[in-house]
Amino acid sequence: MNQLLSLPAKIELRHVTHLYVTTSRAFMAVRDINLRVEEGEFICLVGPSGCGKTTLLSLIAGLEKPTAGKILIEGRPVEGTSRQVGYMLQQDFLFNWRTIEENIFLGLDIQGIRNRETEAYALHLLEEMELADVRKAYPSQLSGGMRQRVALVRTLACQPDILLLDEPFSALDYQTKLKLEDLIFSALRRHKKTAVLVTHDLSESIAMGDRVYILARNPGRISSEVVVPAAIREALPFDARNHPGFHELFHQVWKEMEVVSDAAK
């Protein structure tokens, strides 16, 4: 155990504080966040809106630089965006002037690594997502769930080890969302990715995550951490929701959320 801890974590946040400064005020988005994510782990961040969940993702992605504290990926400080980290947004934001195929090659174009091999890998991912037959179509011809799957392929095509998911299911209808959760969950597990999921949906966080962090707001900080037991953790999200222990765990997280919401009042 001691040896494990001495290894650098996949993602580590040390005393991270971040401020947004405008002409009218300086606003503290998150304060003194300490977080450790091991390789291959799936962690979820939940909390009321304005608790700095998305800020944390932006910081880990290197889109912003923390005002204070350190963010380390495999022990190295984050300096700007990196190929190692993929980011998925709430909506797909596919480029409607590019075909599906050209959309999933976007990252390859940007990173200058587009060749026969990487293209084949991206198309293979598209096939895994059961979208091989729409590769020549345009995004406007696809449904919301299909588009979000394409967005995932676009992110995975660059082969990041870490995936940051910013409420990627929130814009979908319930049935599509459940199906997509299973699909993404198994894809990430198969490709051994480390993932951080931000969500409003408590049951989603329990069904998908290995650990759930509950954040409080004003300023954003970690209020508590819930470890999901192995039986629920290992099941597919859809089956996890039907697991006998699921309801109890949901209740526990719910209570933690109540604490956070009451404190904010």
Binding site: L89, L106, C158
Partner: protein, 268 residues
């Protein structure tokens, strides 16, 4: 309901729509013919001053004779050429300037008051300056056609650059894009529809610039013909030139509209 019934309803809807279209085109043609007929009739009955307003059949005669002796087409070609060059330059320079100030937020804030002044300024008032600077000829006319559209193009396109959904930018940034890639892969393609619709406005603006430019300096072109006809009191020539401008400017506008449709098909 049977499939053939559904089909019949669809067919009758199509027939109805076709009939509507025919009616609209027929009414449009009738209005035009009525206008020409009334004009001709009033002129022949001496109800309007023929010297000032001329009349269609006389215009047609003049048009035909000018066409036959080959003296009209060089004027048309000249004006169309100047307009096309002026409008392309205006759009191109405007887009470049917009790119420049998008690139550097500092520059955009520095240049802001100058753009506001440049936009408020009636560009045709710069005519004498162009003539002195560029000589009384083709260059001045083109400069006018370009000047009239360049600032507004810059402002419209820069605004549309800024209005591109920041999440698209976030997507490419997380994939590691630099500023140049962000511009060529997101900002520019996302604003192509705006740029093309600016083009449509610019066609009209460039016509204004070029005609005014020709009023001031040129020896050739439709603007020159109008001024010449005015000076020698040949209003038939003025009217013929106006009619040609109306037709050619419309054709040009439609050309750009077709181009817009072709290039933005994927954006729907």
């Amino acid at each position: 309901m049977q499939p053939n019934e559904i089909d019949a309803i669809h067919r009758s809807h199509l027939r109805q729509a076709a009939r509507q279209r025919c009616l609209i085109v027929a009414t449009q043609l009738a209005l035009l013919l009525l206008f020409i007929g009334v004009w001709e009739g009033l002129a022949r009955a001496n109800a309007i001053n023929v010297l000032i307003f001329s009349y269609p059949s006389k215009m047609w005669q003049l048009f035909w004779s000018l066409m036959l002796d080959g003296s009209l087409l060089p004027h048309v070609a000249m004006t169309v050429g100047e307009t096309v060059v002026g409008f392309l330059l205006g759009t191109l320079l405007g887009t470049l300037l917009a790119t420049l100030i998008w690139w550097s937020p500092f520059l955009s804030r520095v240049l802001e008051p100058y753009l506001v002044v440049g936009n408020s300024m009636p560009k045709v008032a710069l005519g004498p300056v162009f003539i002195v600077g560029l000589g009384p000829g083709l260059l001045s006319v083109i400069a006018m056609g370009c000047a009239i559209s360049v600032i507004i193009t810059t402002i419209v396109i820069y605004t549309s650059f800024k209005e591109v959904n920041p999440n698209y930018v976030k997507v490419v940034q997380t994939l590691g894009a630099n500023k140049r890639q962000t511009f060529t892969m997101v900002i520019l393609p996302a604003t192509i529809p705006t740029i093309l619709s600016t083009l449509k406005v610019n066609v009209g603006l460039s016509w204004v610039g070029v005609i005014v430019g020709e009023f001031l300096v040129s020896q050739k072109g439709l603007g020159y013909l109008i001024i010449y006809g005015f000076q020698v009191f040949n209003f038939t020539l003025v009217m013929v030139s106006l009619a040609i401008i109306a037709v050619v400017a419309t054709l040009m506008y439609q050309g750009v509209a077709v181009l817009e449709r072709l290039l933005t098909r994927q954006f729907q």
